[in-house]
């Protein structure tokens, strides 16, 4: 039959403390239990605390003094446990030791096709991790409306939130992030923005890269403007980046205006290039302000042509066989003619005749 009452009680139970603070905790054994203060000992996170820090406050009450506490070893709290002499657990208390949160910083937001808003931020300084910190992103329309709370977190990393709908255009929003933990709350600075100022879109679709006729140093890039924004009055700006297959260095073509095609020049012949395009919904509703660049499109590959020059190929006409050897032989015979008397018949023509005879004899041999 299990006892109804807990064997002992610890005070304080589950306290929250600042790093560096001190604590005196007491363990009082329940009157139903035949244990006395001298039968007890303490552990913190599984390690026995020195008896020198204990004090007997009563026949069945033992205290322990903890000085200059470090931040909690785990976010679920440090385990301070009161034991009986044989090691049995009588009671425990979770200590939450840390610092109050810092102001979250660097709030950046973007809207995909003016339909939603995603914001991300960074925790203040290094982000204190001893205590669990809750982040809440809030927003409201300036001058009126109540505070709204963002619900979908972690959509673009740990410190991010996504607002999927009910956003008004042409009106400034105030956005801020609240960080809270057991020791307090910190509120970031307020960021003010109009959805139209932070619009981004999908990367251009249907990116095609093709050769320009036989031109060895050019490639033509063609793409479609992102369909999601086709109903809105905007001019798009595009950027192209390309690189050689085995290089990691991208070259950027910046001044591609509102066109959907571009010709890359000055390229290496016979080389494979990877090309990507991205879009900026510039000047939404004539605002003349830049939006936010989209992601790059998936890389498209194409190669520049290389002119066909046969270096030492097999030419059955017999004249061009092994040009290096022929050249050398010519030079040799020329030298022989100059320096050797007689053998005047020796020349490159004789060598050619020999080769023709060689081929003829091969054929007759194979015909057998």
């Amino acid at each position: 039959v299990s006892p109804a009452a807990d064997p002992a009680v610890i005070s304080p139970q589950d306290p929250t403390l600042l790093i560096g603070s001190s604590l005196v905790a007491t363990c009082t054994v329940s009157p139903d239990f035949p244990l006395k203060a001298e039968d007890l000992y303490w552990t913190l996170n599984g390690r026995r605390l020195p008896a020198a820090s204990y004090a007997t406050l009563g026949p069945s009450t033992l205290s322990v003094a903890l000085a200059r506490l470090n931040g909690s070893r785990q976010q679920s709290g440090d385990n301070l446990v009161c034991h009986s002499r044989d090691g049995g657990i009588l009671a425990g208390s979770c200590l939450y030791v840390g610092l109050p949160p810092e102001k979250p910083v660097n709030i950046t937001c973007w809207s995909k096709n003016m339909k939603d808003l995603t914001c991300k931020w960074a925790p203040g300084t290094e982000g204190e991790t001893f205590l669990h910190t809750n982040y809440t992103l809030k927003y409201k329309r300036r001058w009126y409306g109540q505070d709204n709370t963002c619900q979908e977190y972690h959509t673009a990393g740990t410190y991010s939130c996504h607002i999927p709908k009910d956003l008004a255009l042409f009106t400034p929003y105030e956005i801020w992030v609240e960080a809270s933990n057991r020791l307090g709350v910190a509120v970031s600075d307020v960021v003010m923005l109009d959805i139209l100022d932070v619009v981004t879109t999908d990367p251009p679709s249907d990116v095609h890269v093709s050769r320009v006729g036989d031109l060895e140093d050019q490639l033509s890039v063609r793409w479609s403007s992102p369909p999601a924004l086709k109903d809105f009055l905007f001019q798009a700006k595009y950027q192209i980046q390309y690189r050689v297959e085995d290089s990691s260095e991208w070259k950027v073509v910046d001044d591609v205006g509102n066109q959907t095609s571009c010709r890359l020049a000055g390229l290496r012949p016979g080389t494979v290039y990877f090309v990507q395009v991205r879009c900026n919904p510039f000047s939404i509703y004539g605002s003349k302000k830049a939006g936010i660049w989209s992601d790059w499109s998936n890389p498209t590959a194409a190669s520049t042509p290389r002119s066909e020059r046969v270096a030492g190929g097999c030419d059955p006409k017999g004249g061009e066989q092994n040009t290096t050897l022929r050249r050398e032989l010519k030079q040799f015979f020329g030298w022989v003619k100059k320096h050797a008397y007689g053998c005047s018949n020796l020349g490159i023509k004789l060598y050619d005749q020999w080769r023709v005879w060689l081929q003829k004899s091969h054929k007759t041999r194979n015909q057998v």
């Binding site: 807990d6 589950d14 599984g46 390690r47 070893r73 976010q75 679920s76 385990n79 657990i89």
Partner: protein, 220 residues
């Protein structure tokens, strides 16, 4: 590894629900085959639990993650159904009783685990817990399926409210809650060990039908 396990349990779960049109399972799927699948599921869950428990106990911190940790089971911990049972009693269980005990135990354990999910601190733990709960739900469905195919009624009991089974108070302090969590994981582990033996025993008694498991699983 992981995807095979999910596939197995999903098939086991969905194949045993005759009303589900999306998965085209062969009707010859007999009880024997379901028992095998349920057995496989318990082994898979056992494997998953090892990782989950390791992570969770580290989150609770020492002494909870020490290998020889054995705290007292206080009164409130008794609410978690115990797997340990007298050996002769266990041997003498009828098929119905054996299956029902498993069904009841995992239904309750699932409730407690879901409560845990709502309170736990780190994103990694929440993710693992959610995954485990989904698999455990599959096991409950699988056991239910075996019982139905053998003609046994499912144990009575309404679906528990999200706050946990009614009439059970939450732990009065954070340390006692940690102890409850420890015992929940321990009991889950013991049940999975026991279930493997339960289903092994059932396998021998219920001959597998001569079937070819024809599954047209769309979307996997």
């Amino acid at each position: 590894g992981d995807s095979w396990g999910i596939f197995t349990f999903l098939c086991a779960a969905l194949c045993n629900l005759p009303a589900l049109p999306a998965l085209n399972c062969s009707e010859e799927l007999g009880a024997g085959q379901s028992i095998q699948q349920t057995y496989d599921l318990t082994r898979y869950l056992e494997h998953q639990l090892r990782t989950l428990a390791g992570t969770y106990l580290n989150y609770l911190g020492p002494p909870f993650n020490e290998p020889d940790f054995n705290p007292p089971r206080l009164a409130r911990a008794e609410r978690v159904p115990s797997a340990t049972v007298d050996l002769d009693l266990w041997r003498g269980l009828t098929d119905n009783a054996r299956l029902a005990a498993n069904y009841r135990a995992y239904s309750r354990l699932l409730c407690y685990l879901r409560v845990l999910d709502g309170q736990v601190g780190t994103a990694e733990l929440r993710h693992r817990l959610a995954h485990f709960c989904a698999s455990l739900q599959g096991l409950v469905l699988s056991i239910g399926g075996v019982m139905s195919s053998l003609g046994y009624p499912l144990p009575a009991g309404p679906a528990a409210p999200p706050a946990g089974p009614p009439g059970v108070p939450a732990a009065p302090n954070d340390f006692l809650k940690k102890m409850d969590d420890f015992w929940l994981l321990k009991e889950l582990q013991t049940w999975l060990w026991r279930s493997a033996k339960d289903f092994n025993r059932l396998k021998k008694k219920v001959p597998p039908a001569v079937v070819t498991l024809r599954l047209e699983a769309r979307g996997f």
